[in-house]
Amino acid sequence: MLIKTRDDGFVHPRSSEITPEGVYRQRRDLMRLMAGGAAGALLASWAARDARAQMRPVKLPAQKSPVAGAVTLEKPTDYKDATSYNNFYEFGLDKSDPARNAHTLQTTPWTVAVEGLVKKPGRYALEDLLRRSALEERIYRLRCVEGWSMVIPWAGYSLAELIRKVEPLGSARYVEFVTLADRQTMPYVSSSVLNWPYVEGLRMDEAMHPLTLLAFGMYGEVLPKQNGAPVRLVAPWKYGFKSGKSLVKIRFTETQPATAWNVAAPQEYGFYSNVNPNVDHPRWSQATERRIGEDGLFSRRRKTLMFNGYEAQVGQLYAGMDLKKYY
């Protein structure tokens, strides 16, 4: 009798016998959940929550971006980390809260109002915004003001594309971004942590910079709710909080917008909030950062780069400015 072994490397399993990678990964997740499940019903609700957070949304294909500096070669952060460690205060103050709570966010229908000093104001449906320009994949470093960083593959297009189409007036010097504040679906909007809605802003030249991204997706899929679905801003050379999530209004103004964190703690968070290793936060140093998923417990924190490594692209926007004063 011929005993077949697979040791010789010539007899391969039929392709139907090979477990697809996605399936065995799910099995591993399931095993991990079950291993914890012995601890009782409390963990079962945890598992349900994890499952909800792990549900992968709709695909959103995008072409590699031709914009200078838009695609870092660094290793993207694990999807799981990027979608379970978030600051989105409307859904809770702990970084694990948004993944747990943001499922209530209603993203359809969604419109973004364009207002203020602009020739073509109006309300733009998400579908219209998605069609305005070709989606590009941009792999950006994300540096949080708290001293950690990630690398995220976003999908979107330069905000400048939209700004040009709505034709701002000559008097428009700033752009204000207003994000959703819905008491029905966002449990922490009634808290006194910040003034709601969360407002952010950029100077016009910052908003027009090709790196400033209007993002609709990440990791090749539409944005998960905890990451600011369905449309958000990404300004990669600024601390993460400058990039408003779940945008509902873009307003062109002559005066500098009163931005949420600047109003809440002006001595800690400036309007500009450019990533700058030489200007410390009053309570911690900004000279170094911990890359989530990369820098282990015992490895040293890595050096933070000026403008988060985008100095070549954005440095000239701040030529002659005292960045210690305009932090």
């Binding site: 103050l93 970084k95 950690w148 942590v193 140093s285 911990r290 015992f298 040293r300």
Partner: protein, 221 residues
């Protein structure tokens, strides 16, 4: 169960070992969770914050021993105070070690600069320094060596530590206006210190009315 029976249970030989293990469990869990990647995306931050949280919890526990033993009439509880106190120091030391190791890479120069530069770190570090002589004099010999009165006066430093610990936590959360948990610890510790203050003041009044009789120690504990 009436209080004499609870009292008898508290005097049992298993109580101290059980408390010792119970207080160690959070630390063991953190080690296990760190080793098996259960601390989320930022394990360093999780370890620093959890050890800080447990320091505050132990501080609340140790400061509630005297009031509880008086209010419930359970003097046997006082037997457990020293161990809880040492656990405050244990978690505070872990907290400091996690900060020094994970955030500062054990670079003494960086740590010294950080402490000098940041009041919020300085306050936390001072609290740890103030706890050190308390931990060092926690054994019976030290009480004899110092004398009961002086030993007790020294150990009242824990009230200052409680204030500094809350200030440290408040400062850490101040930038984000996230005070819900700070309020919890501040009210618990405030109540526990307030109770002592109230007893000290009313004790002094009692003493004053009893002129001629022997002065009584207000017994801050």
């Amino acid at each position: 169960m009436d209080s004499t029976r609870i009292h008898r249970v508290l005097l049992g030989p298993a109580v101290k070992p059980a408390l010792w293990v119970g207080c160690l469990l959070p630390a063991l869990w953190l080690v296990y969770a760190a080793a098996s990647s259960r601390l989320g995306a930022n394990p360093a931050e999780a370890l620093i914050r959890s050890t800080g949280d447990w320091t505050l919890r132990m501080l609340c526990a140790v400061l509630s021993v005297t009031p509880l033993s008086r209010l419930l009439g359970l003097p046997a509880l006082v037997r457990l105070r020293r161990m809880l106190g040492l656990y405050v120091y244990f978690y505070a030391a872990l907290h400091l070690l996690c900060y020094a190791g994970f955030d500062m890479g054990l670079d003494l120069g960086d740590i010294t600069r950080d402490i000098a530069k940041r009041p919020f770190i300085l306050v936390g570090f001072s609290a740890f320094l103030l706890l050190t002589p308390l931990a060092l004099t926690s054994w019976n010999g030290a009480i004899r060596w110092l004398g009961g009165k002086r030993w007790q006066a020294l150990h009242r430093l824990v009230y200052v530590v409680a204030g500094l610990a809350v200030l440290h936590f408040f400062w850490m959360r101040a930038g984000k206006h996230n005070f819900a948990e700070v309020q919890v610890y501040a009210s618990v510790l405030g109540a526990l210190l307030g109770w002592r203050l109230w007893r000290a003041v009313s004790g002094r009044q009692r003493n004053r009315t009893a002129v001629g009789r022997q002065g009584r120690d207000p017994g801050l504990g």
